[in-house]
Symmetry: C2
Subunit: 358 residues, 2 copies
């Protein structure tokens, strides 16, 4: 039986994924050279669709990596000489911080307990931190950071680079890229694709920083997928190494589908489905939303405590053809995580709620 | 019209690729969690099939990255404290060397002109070089380094790590992994898959080196896909970050197909097809194999000079449904490159030869 995946990534494939894959196979996209005009046209198309969808200005480039985790490392290598600053409130924001330590950067941390979020007013960034690393959506705990707060951070610290992990929420958050220096995501979350491609958006300011570190500070900015090599290839819509051509093609087609629906509609549908889920959970005796503050509740990954062992809830749903995620880490047995991505419809969320009520 | 791709990667997809992809879609492999038993079973299966195919002993782990280029960087980060040594005779072996310089390693180089190969007897490795970096098959120039010579290098320098770029030849070269510390390849070459997955084979010796550099030398070994994190996850058949699950599944199935044919047969078929190509080129007035020394001629990427401008040869073949590669870099207009991977049959090579004769 085909299952519907409400897991927070890898997740349900977007319904049109299959036809785009078939077209790609018919056109032998898996065999074309990444130095051909056909590939350059694909990159250009995907770039244009993502620009429209996420409102990305010409000051920013769009690059492809193997995963979003790779981008954590690339950003730290390319854009931090000495010090970074991290808002940490879950396992993935912590990993970004861990990466900084592994690269021997001096990493500052402002930490909140699992399930709690940040507000702009409580954030003080250390003077010498060069980069402010924030996670729009903590996949592990279901906490979001509001874009307005991210924008205020950049206004308060205009000389620091503000970078946004939007792995499990893009294209939902309405970021103002005149106030965001870099953002990144993977395609196996809200874009409804299989895993295997990371997308990195970065400004000329990030590029200039990388070039300065390399030329004048005699610092290594890494060797693979450095920002200067990505950028020089990007100018002709190429990549330094052979990329995942097939997935870049499909991502462009899915972004086009989202653009046809309209990003405002995609966002409204996401919010409407999130409202349905939280309303049910708030009113149920069997569940309790993990994130207390409504303003911090993720719209794309809903995390709730379960009165029954979560394994029972998950097994019951599965027998009805619905796959939901377990809690993360130590919450594995007491929580469930429900992805609210564009691939699942309001009707499917409704069916899931009916199942959870049983 | 469907074309047959004789390009050296991305290349023709292996004929069974399509059915494995369909099975993967039917089983919703693109949606399953990379922390699930189902994924662990896939990793375990692909690991076992690759072990059989390439005769990889238990002393070596098998890991997945975004590309083979990424592995160049990972190897240098994890396994070189100060000095590396590179045999360079083409654009890709040079990139490996360039990566070492970018990471501020002291990189030694022994270089040959484009189109020439190395013999064991002429290779002297500097005393303090920790890693010997060799390229089994130079995709740019069509030169191969014989496995016997690689093995002799390790016997002569048993304390140095010998690492083999087999990007455009695996599974063809019969490496003895008791004499090879690490090897790596991408799947868009001889495995006949779309690009988007790198495979890294590394020994416990490599792991120990990485752990020593990290713990005792206080050196950064990078943050993403470090050998210690890859290895600790590998023990339970998991990966540190979300990998390309779909491609790992398909790679395992293709390796199984190769194993059913038998690696000896796959190698013999490769050699037979290479013989057909070189015999034709040697006997033709319109072409001249680029690599003069027979022992250095690649069995998987055949490079030849063309009397006519190569663009004419390429266009004529294309009009008959056959895509061949142009020369690399400055040889773009005067050479062609013909991939000889398992995805194309002897009959197809024969048809190509007939076309090239016209």
């Amino acid at each position: 039986m085909k299952q519907i995946y409400f897991t927070p990534g890898p997740a349900e494939l977007y319904p049109t994924f299959y036809q785009h894959l078939q077209t790609a196979l018919d056109e032998q996209i898996g065999s074309i050279s990444h130095r051909s005009q056909k590939f350059r046209d694909i990159y250009k198309f995907t770039d244009a669709q993502l620009r429209t969808l996420l409102n990305i200005p010409d000051t920013h480039g769009i690059f492809f990596t193997g995963s979003a985790s790779e981008v954590w490392e690339r950003l730290l290598f390319n854009c931090v000489e000495h010090e970074s600053f991290h808002l940490v409130n879950g396992s993935f924001s912590r990993k970004f911080y861990d990466y900084a330590n592994s690269l021997h950067k001096f990493a500052h941390i402002l930490e909140k307990p699992f399930g709690e979020g940040f507000d702009y007013t409580e954030i003080d960034v250390p003077e010498y931190a060069e980069m402010i690393c924030v996670t729009h959506n903590e996949t592990s705990s279901g906490v979001q950071l509001r874009p307005a707060d991210i924008h205020k951070l950049k206004r308060k610290y205009p000389k620091k680079l503000v970078v946004v992990d939007m792995v499990s929420s893009a294209p939902y958050p309405d970021l103002d890229f005149s106030l965001v220096d870099s953002a990144f995501f993977s395609v196996q979350k809200a874009f409804g694709m299989p895993a295997g491609l990371g997308v990195w958006i970065a400004s000329q300011g990030c590029l200039e920083k990388a070039e300065r570190l390399k030329k004048y500070e005699n610092l290594t900015i890494g060797a693979h997928h450095t920002l200067p090599t990505l950028w020089v290839n990007y100018k002709k819509f190429e990549t330094p190494a052979t990329p995942n051509v097939l997935f870049i093609y499909i991502l462009g087609k899915l972004a086009e589908d989202f653009n046809k629906i309209g990003i405002d509609t995609v966002r409204k549908q996401t919010e409407e489905k999130a409202r349905m889920l939280y309303k049910f959970l708030d009113g149920s005796d069997a569940y309790e939303p993990f994130v207390q503050q409504e303003r911090h509740r993720s719209q794309t990954v809903v995390v709730t405590s379960t009165k029954k062992p979560s394994a029972e809830v998950i097994a019951a749903a599965k027998s009805e053809g619905m796959v939901i995620g377990s809690g993360y880490g130590k919450f594995k047995d007491s929580q469930i995580r429900i992805a609210n991505f564009p691939a699942t419809s309001a009707e499917q969320i409704d069916a899931l709620i009916t199942q959870l009520q049983k």
